[in-house]
């Protein structure tokens, strides 16, 4: 694998009627990652993914895929990329198998890939049924099978678990997780569900109102979920004054004083100070920020379901 990222955008912007739907987005997806593109509905996820595929043209910014400029090397890039954008595409009057054949001809993929891809999404028993008669979940599976058909180096999936039942979601999740190791596929997927991304992704980009607010590995996002320590005392005003005097920076909330992350020694030291000053300490509690809190802090929005 080359050192350059699989996907790299700089200052990617799309303006519709004066407002920036996507604003200065700098995505970096490295080889072998499962990159979760997370954001509330209407945040600009699909618009960004469509720009990566050249379906819509950016107003400003650059896109490189496999280290190559998208505008100049689009056919080559598309040849190495599979995608499922918005809802699954299919020809309703054709069977699942025939839909796969159309895709196989367009992609010039070997015929044996059809069975393999259908098997992976567990559609081999329904392949002679017309796509129109498929359930939403089956259409989604067909869409995934079609995007996988050529076993591309990069797979772009827009809300891949939409319309699937819980069992199907679990299945597709395991499937996506296995792709980098089994087939060397780098996956870029979007979702508006934090839980979804949390369970699949190794890296995450959080977008809201067209801006990329966070980008990094899942691990470092979790690490930023630091615990805070809260002291509840009988005399919060005096406690605050005393602690400020000694160089601590508590945040007063009602009768509680909250500290960002504190080491254990610091906790006992503060406790001793308060007790020595005859301020009754009622409660010392640790509050861990959940990923959801971080997500909400970042996006400033209620999570949409």
């Amino acid at each position: 694998m080359s050192a350059s990222p699989i996907v790299e955008t700089r200052g990617l912007t799309k303006t519709y009627g004066g407002s920036n739907r996507v604003n200065q987005v700098g995505l970096t997806v490295e080889a072998g990652q499962i990159y979760g593109f997370l954001g509330p509905n209407g945040a600009g996820k699909t618009t960004t993914l469509k720009m990566l595929l050249g379906l819509i043209k950016p107003t400003a910014g650059s896109i490189k895929v496999f280290g190559k400029d998208l505008a100049k090397h689009r056919p080559d890039i598309l040849n190495r990329t599979g995608s499922l954008i918005e809802s699954p595409s299919y020809y309703g009057h054709l069977t699942g198998l025939e839909n796969m054949r159309v895709m196989q001809r367009m992609r010039n993929a070997p015929a044996r890939n059809i069975d393999k891809a259908l098997q992976i999404v567990r559609l081999e028993n329904q392949k002679h049924k017309k796509a129109d008669q498929y359930s939403l979940g089956m259409k989604q599976r067909l869409g995934i099978a079609m995007s996988l058909l050529a076993f591309p180096e990069l797979l772009i999936l827009d809300e891949p678990t939409n319309g699937l039942d819980p069992a199907g979601i679990g299945e597709i999740r395991e499937l996506i997780k296995s792709l980098p190791d089994q087939y060397g596929i780098t996956v870029l997927l979007s979702s508006h569900l934090l839980s979804e991304i949390e369970q699949i992704a190794t890296s995450v980009g959080i977008i809201s109102d067209g801006r990329l607010l966070y980008q990094g590995t899942m691990r470092s996002l979790r690490a930023s979920a630091k615990a805070s320590i809260r002291f509840q005392t009988a005399d919060p005003a005096r406690a605050e004054a005393v602690l400020l005097e000694r160089g601590y920076l508590p945040v007063a909330q009602g009768n509680r004083l909250t500290f960002d992350y504190l080491r254990d020694e610091e906790v006992s030291r503060i406790n001793r100070i308060l007790v020595e000053q005859d301020i009754p300490v009622i409660r010392i509690e640790e509050r861990k920020k959940s990923l959801e809190d971080i997500f909400l802090d970042l996006t400033g929005k209620e999570r949409s379901l």
Partner: protein
């Protein structure tokens, strides 16, 4: 390119376009034959008179509509289910996509045209017209098919652009009348639909001089290319709207 055609071919299989392809020529032939039957006292020119009657309805009205329907049909496949997303993210070029669609429409129209000429021959025999089947008719039909390609190139462009199935067909109908007007004004070479009238020998059975034939072929080639470039450039440069 071959890949695109093979993919397009698969897409239209088991679709409902074939009955339409058969019915429209039959209807126009029937209307033409009935007209011929009731006006036989005036129409004294045997095979040629029959041709004026059947090709009038077919070439002036049903064939352009049939072309428009075929074009709208091959584009509707892509407008449905956001299939443009899938087609335009395949590694095949927009040019080969357009060419493949034009090829498919061309093949369908050629089939309809052949069917029409065969039926014309059969009905001529049925009326027991004097003399053999005039071979010029085959040449006229082929010329008509060639003019069909420029109309198809235009209609494909419209149908790619317009999501609605019927609107481009409506526009095509307006173009028919415009084409008739331009034919009457003797500037028919400048419009695809009038080229069809000229090519099929619908209103005049004089035949074309070699120079006219050359101009006819050249103008058709030019129109096919012009409309193709227009559509391909548009598909390359504009955002794909799919919802």
């Amino acid at each position: 390119m071959i890949r695109s055609i093979r993919a397009e071919w698969l897409k239209i299989r088991r679709s409902r376009i074939v009955p339409v392809l058969a019915v429209l020529p039959v209807v126009s032939l029937l209307v033409g034959c009935i007209n011929f039957y009731f006006n036989r006292t005036v129409l004294q020119n045997g095979w040629y008179s029959l041709w004026t009657q059947v090709s009038l309805f077919y070439g002036e009205f049903f064939l352009p509509v049939l072309i428009a329907i075929c074009c709208a049909f091959v584009c509707r496949l892509e407008h449905n289910n956001r299939n443009w997303n899938m087609v335009l993210t395949s590694p095949l070029s927009v040019t080969s996509l357009f060419a493949a669609k034009l090829f498919i429409v061309g093949a369908l129209i050629l089939a309809a045209q052949t069917f029409f000429v065969l039926m014309y021959g059969a009905s001529g025999r049925l009326f027991a017209l004097p003399g053999g089947f005039p071979m010029e008719i085959v040449a006229w039909s082929l010329r008509g098919w060639f003019a069909s390609l420029s109309i198809a190139s235009l209609q494909l462009g419209l149908s790619i652009r317009i999501r609605s199935f019927a609107a481009p067909i409506g526009i095509g109908l307006c173009a028919v009348f415009l084409g008739l007007g331009m034919y009457v004004l003797k500037i028919g070479m400048l419009f695809p639909h009038s080229l069809l009238t000229i090519g099929m020998g619908v209103l005049s059975q004089k035949g074309l001089t070699p120079a006219e034939n050359g101009a006819f072929l050249f103008m058709n080639g030019l129109f096919v290319l012009l409309f193709a470039v227009w559509s391909i450039r548009r598909m390359k440069n504009e955002d794909v709207v799919s919802s």
